[in-house]
Symmetry: C2
């Protein structure tokens, strides 16, 4: 039969498509990819089960990466689906699942949905004016990578905007628990727009102090987005320096570093003041 | 009250989200943005009306661009929505509508959905490995622009893939009807992957004949996608030279020029042979 990958979109249970909901209701087993992004604090298994009237099996990273054959078991004779926040092809892991299914001769179908990669258009910046997307990782005292700087710089040199996907730390263990071998995890941590802006300003400052030309600085225009697609979504357009003090509220946050702004983009950003 | 922009996604009537459908059913007036992309041959007003059990008002380009106040009439006291294929922020026009609504003090809410800009992930190329998106226009005998070449080149120099959105000609008039002032329009024309590949190979050939280094040539890997999100979607990965002869079937087509391929991307593309 068919292995379905079904996107859940960005908001709540009702952001599944009508077609996606029909597929969920007819599938023999319903998996929920449970380790990325907003599932940790927004949607949960119980909500989804109540809405679908179906049992939902949580598939953590181990199950998806190592045990995909468990998920795909009997998919040649029964319809199986896996639910994914956003669009199913936001993460490499799903490509692994698709490849494995195809190797097993199982038909794969995708029910697409919104992802942060297209929904950022709601701030008024045009999607075709975006360059490469970057991931910004949380710094520690001893590990402060800045490799994403070059990509933002390359985008800005061409006038392009940059989506910065902000770090999420889940299933972290304290050093104590790690040494004791205890599988006790710290609460998930989500990087904020303010933290990301602060890191970016520091990177630019260090480049400048090293005598280098910088592709952006504290005065560069940026856009903070929080909870895109939710009823309480928040969008703020300001400088990177100002963003370091903006409280965007609950996760998930996404930061955009602007490139060259077109007049209509400027007008749209003006509707999202500090 | 609220002016809603509701994305319809890429496929059929059932690709609206459950939340989107609830909004449509409660709105006082339901507009359908009728002049872009697939509405011309896929979804139509009658299908939507039957599925929603509601009257749907077609909003052509004139109405959206010049008459947005007609659409927004009474939106301060009644809920109004406009349906848009894909995600609502795929086109600049919707930014205009949003700005106008905000000027009038009307609350604007967006129900996001999949768009071709994120759904192309289904071919296995990672979304964060894409650079700037380009639009490829149909050549005529006397007008053969190639400005998108430089953008594809800049993407490839950084190893990035490029989405080529292919030209759609709607409401074209024959020279005869134009001169007679008759508002009779030719059937819509949709550029195919084969046509786009042919133009791109010609551009590369001309650059090379002019003694220039080229960022791609006839042997460069590309991916053709047709009817993404439909049940009969088709994906083919091959060289640009091969793509000039591939029959992808009904519109809409999208062509991707590959940058540097990661191993998992290569594995995925291998599942879409000629």
């Amino acid at each position: 039969m068919v292995f379905y990958l079904i996107g859940l979109g960005l908001g709540d249970v009702k952001d599944i498509t009508v077609r996606g909901l029909e597929v969920v209701k007819k599938c023999k087993r319903v998996y929920l990819e449970a380790y990325t992004s907003i599932l940790c604090y927004g949607l949960d298994k119980q909500q989804l089960e109540a809405f679908y009237g179906r049992e939902v099996i949580e598939a953590d990273r181990d199950l998806v990466e190592q045990g995909s054959d468990v998920i795909l078991e009997n998919a040649d004779t029964e319809d199986i689906c896996m639910l994914v926040v956003g669009d199913p092809f936001g993460a490499t892991t799903h490509a692994d699942m698709v490849l494995r299914a195809k190797q097993l001769g199982i038909t794969v179908k995708v029910v697409h949905n919104a992802s942060i990669m297209n929904a950022v258009g709601c701030c008024g910046l045009q999607l075709y004016n975006f360059g490469e997307t970057v991931s910004v990782v949380m710094w520690t005292d001893t590990w402060q990578p800045d490799s994403y700087y070059d990509k933002i710089a390359a985008n800005r040199q061409r006038g392009m905007h940059t989506i910065c996907l902000l770090d999420i730390k889940t299933k972290e263990q304290s050093i104590e628990n790690l040494m004791k071998g205890k599988k006790i995890y710290e609460p998930p941590r989500y990087m904020t727009c303010a933290e990301a802006a602060d890191q970016l300003v520091k990177i630019a400052d260090r480049k400048r102090e090293a005598g280098l030309e910088t592709a952006f600085d504290a005065e560069t225009q940026c856009v903070g987005l929080a909870r895109v697609g939710w009823d309480n979504q928040k969008i703020v357009a300001c400088s990177l320096r100002e963003m370091t003090n903006v409280e965007m509220g609950d996760p998930l946050h996404t930061l955009i570093i602007c490139g060259t702004l077109h007049p209509i983009e400027k007008d749209m950003l003006a509707t999202f003041p500090l």
